[in-house]
Assembly symmetry: T
Homo-oligomer: 138 residues x 12
């Protein structure tokens, strides 16, 4: 199974950015653990702070991969273009969030992506990614 | 690990109710599969159509169990009392939904429970429960 | 034809409660008159102040009766769970209200039940029930 | 008993217009059946696509007839002038709708007429008219 | 000075319609008094329940008369077309209301006409018309 | 007849303040003209930039004068206390505005005073005061 | 090809009404030019200030013409009845506006007609009509 | 004087639940103190997590007791049925809240009960109950 | 114990102002009774129709008195400055209202003061003050 | 005449993306047809999924080209920056949409671009582009 | 250069009031420092808790001073009268706030003054005043 | 002191774009003046029309520079991702705007950046940047 972990804006700072909300683990360290948990999966990772790069990446892999685990960060709440990209491709996308967005600012309570994703997993820290990958095995 | 699967209103009809949305698998059949996947967990199940019964159950197990996987159904969108019950107990609760609520009526887009739960898993069919139980192992 | 008259919260006080709005006729007296008007119908009556009891009753009769005439009272405006129960069953439900809800507080202007019922009859006093039963003969 | 069936805009196309919503029965055919059901009533019918004609008709019959069964169609949702006309006359008016307006566009969920009518009957197809006439006999 | 008193829907029933709100004086009786108060003015009166007739009348006199005193009744709150007609003509229009609209239903609190009229006079009973005519002398 | 002209905040600057909106006539000059038009009336004038002074003045004259013509300026849109003062007194108050408030910022479209005044006169420049005084003679 | 140009309220004043917004060309002059551009089309024109007349016209030609180019003016923003008429007929309707409605008052930003028309053309002056006719040739 | 202290959902956990908000005194301990302060009053206590039980209790005592001090907890913000029950009975009800609800989530700022209760006492900790009982002596 | 009773706008008219809402007892008469009920308390009274005077008074006593019972009248609903003053001082303030504000105009349903006061007591007539003073003894 | 066709996010997938909404014609095939229809025009095409690229392109050609036909896709509904870019340049821009946006999700009903474009053409499939180019010839 | 520092309600308590938000420096101490930084400027200071005093002060200096640095405190969010006063005078006004109002309660996010001031400086502690004075030198 | 001037979309057109709003000075000319005013500061400038570039730049300098003066242009009103980037870095950011945004379209009245910046300076033309730099010296 071929799975893309797709990370949006500011997630490159994971581990240094607001550790009380996002934890203090570096994403590349976490990725090693994640791959270890799913030895048969081919897990790739792509991060960009650019909405357009994320759209391009969805287009690029969205007809070949078996699944996409997508944390669009702040773009979840503002980007209809990303939602359109998800609808436009064939691969199923699972939306994940590290923090419990319902506990935060009201503008984080709505995601344009939820309605076009297969499902949403929110609030489990980095384990939201693990559960996202796991969901393709259920 | 001792885990309660808590189901709210109309979920007793699972398998017969609106199969295009909720699938056609009976919950007790699913429960057998679920227990098989987590042989070491002690998984119990309780369903009620009564908001008060659900509050009582949360109070009853909420200081002893290791986790609660809660699908409050329609009460998710209307019950502050259930949210208060979750805040009042010690056991962590994971909110799950079978359907992708973001694709449905706008009054299903907000859940009073999300902000007081550890996390939320939405849209994976009955596998939302599986991922919910799995989350206590991550 | 087998028909259930289902009454929600506070309707047990009919005849004593706010007579300027709800009239001063006792519901059991009215029921005798109603049955006399439809001698061939088998009309049953159930009232509860509990949302969960009403859901249970809908589940119980909702695959066998020919029709349900439902005055959910205040729950009409707050209960998504009752709406879900109506959608989950096979028997058609007609929503009735004694008073003209459009003349009252704005929170009584919306009913979660209307969209899932066959039709709605509002404002005819106790005759709303009569017209509700009649509707199953048209 | 002298009763006016008053029909608003586009209801002259009944039978040809959007049959999945409004059915495929011509209103004049239905009127024959309706009169047969109430042999003692003197039932008249008036239809106009003009808000002003409907106001004039309400003024004209509104101090002499025993009842008016009014389907104002789209004007229900936009015309305060029709509501004022109903308040200004002595004859009681019953509001009817063929389709279940609560299942349709949100701008059809509110009717300016409901609060000034004796009652409202919605969603029973052409039988909404039958129940409307019946209501004057209860 | 040539002045048109223009009356909208239901104002033909003045004197019989809801006397507690609109008073019990017939408009033609009032008109005699009004003309007596302004002996030099040429005061004409036109009433219609039809939005289109009112637009036509505005177009017809709106380039020749010295002033228009307009009580658009319920159309004040719903008709952008009447506001456009007022903007399209050369004669100044004064908006009048018999009742104090701010004390009534919230949908009567906004008038599309106010912003395109020279001024607005509200709440003085039939004297609102008198003050409206008077305003063209100030 | 004893009438108070009551002016609220910034109206002391009339004639110098924003002449394109409020005109360039000094209020004391206007007052001389106004008194000349109503030789039998005893017209007094009071202006204050203080909400509390205006309340006090209403209390002071509100049980003895025959009428109050009140331009509360910006306080019209923010002061419930002034509305309460008007309700608390016996003398009738007429609300006037120099400019057409419906053409200006949306926060000037609502006045807390309108519903508790006898009537409202808006948009006639300083003649709004003249019509306000006139209204006590109709 | 048989095409109706349908014009709503106040468009009879085109050329004299608010020339800075609507231009100063008379519609009948424009119509001559328009017909010259589409020599093979049979273009008819109907204008009314009456909502009901416009509904009637849509009903009348709506099963025979090849296309309708409709500028409903102010009724675009208030008339559900016109939208229902468009849905009820077979001929496709193209909505046009002379001015750029998005630059004007907020109540002109929504049109009830857009969702039931084939398409919408806004802001090109009288050329909006030309493009509307052209659209039936693409 | 016969007074009922009526407690709604989650108040059975008082003393253990969120002590920073609700304090750490057990309600039965408090009740002893309360009874000592009002030795002549006959004070009873009933708590339930069920909306329907609370309605039943109001019906049961609401025609015989001298007063009811009601903390409906979360149901205050969601239950129209409880408000209807209070309106339906003869005994006066005083609404109390332990915490200062205005300082908490916005969904706790509105109570359906306030408008149908004699008065409301909010924010004094358990002394809100004491003041509630005291209010029946003033 | 040193307690200030602080009264806002229009409360100087108590006894004459809208007796159906505020009762017909003069506040100074009530004050004598109140002092008699709390013989050990040193109760002072200050009333002003000026927002600024009320702020000054709060500043003046707010670091020395044991408690303030504050009925800010209409300013409760509009004054952030008063709320800031309460937050700025050391003495605790209890908010009281004579009438049941939840039964009145919607703009009286929100108070800027509630969230910064120790607690709120609403709807008990003049006894709201008595309970307010009493609250400092609990 | 030099015209730029500017396409926003996901429009590179035209022909494969959601064909029921956007049709199944590839944009480069369409472009050939379009150029054939306007043999004298010099038509260029630029597509990007990046908001910034689109801004840059507008800046680059916006002082030299004769017209821009712009389908900003999802960015129409979220990008104030693109609207600012259009206002900042000299070339007129025509907004086009393939689908009838008024029939789709409510968040597609508003476009930040409409008010700063010369005009808008919506709902004609790929012919919206043709009409957009045509508009520069009228 | 002659500059007025104008301070609104509760700013007399600076240094003692909520030091975590407003700091613990007394304003008169700060004023000495400020004057030292701008030795050539003639800086005056006026503070009042009264809206009317602030309006009067603006009128008094607003045609003679070179600049006004105004912290209207809570009145910024509620006073249209102060905004009108600023518009009515000739001297330019700069709005300053000590705290970052965007981080605080939502009712502090809007200021009626911003749109009528030359500019706004928010969140720099007492240095907001320094930058305000500085702005008149740029 | 090392300070970055960061400019968002369309600010590269400064001097040519809408001069009535943004002035006609070229930013590089202004920068020379600015550097002259702060000879000891090391001032760098970066502009991009790309949200992602701006995020990257914030990440790049945000742990080393002493201050950032950021005019995010239109992205201020739409970009949660930029706000997150500001929160994620260590360097303090001051938000500046050239125009008085409170005087412009309502969608420019809210900035996602204000609450995460040290302060905001709005409306002083290019001097907003000067004051922004100055703020790091106070």
């Amino acid at each position: 199974m071929k799975i893309l972990i797709l990370n949006g804006p500011n997630l490159n700072l994971l581990g240094t950015r607001e550790p009380s909300i996002y934890g203090n683990i570096n994403f590349s360290d976490f990725l090693i653990e994640l791959k270890a948990k799913f030895p048969k999966a081919q897990i790739e990772h792509f991060q960009s702070n650019r909405e357009g790069d994320l759209i391009d990446k969805l287009h690029e892999v969205g007809f070949f991969y078996d699944g996409i685990v997508f944390n669009a960060g702040a773009y979840s709440h503002t980007s209809i273009a990303l939602a359109d990209a998800i609808k436009a491709i064939a691969t199923q996308v699972v939306e994940v969030h590290i923090s419990n967005t319902a506990q935060r600012e009201s503008y984080r309570h709505h995601s344009f992506l939820s309605a076009v994703c297969r499902g949403t997993i929110t609030g489990f820290g980095l384990n939201s990614y693990t559960l996202g990958v796991q969901s393709f095995y259920e």
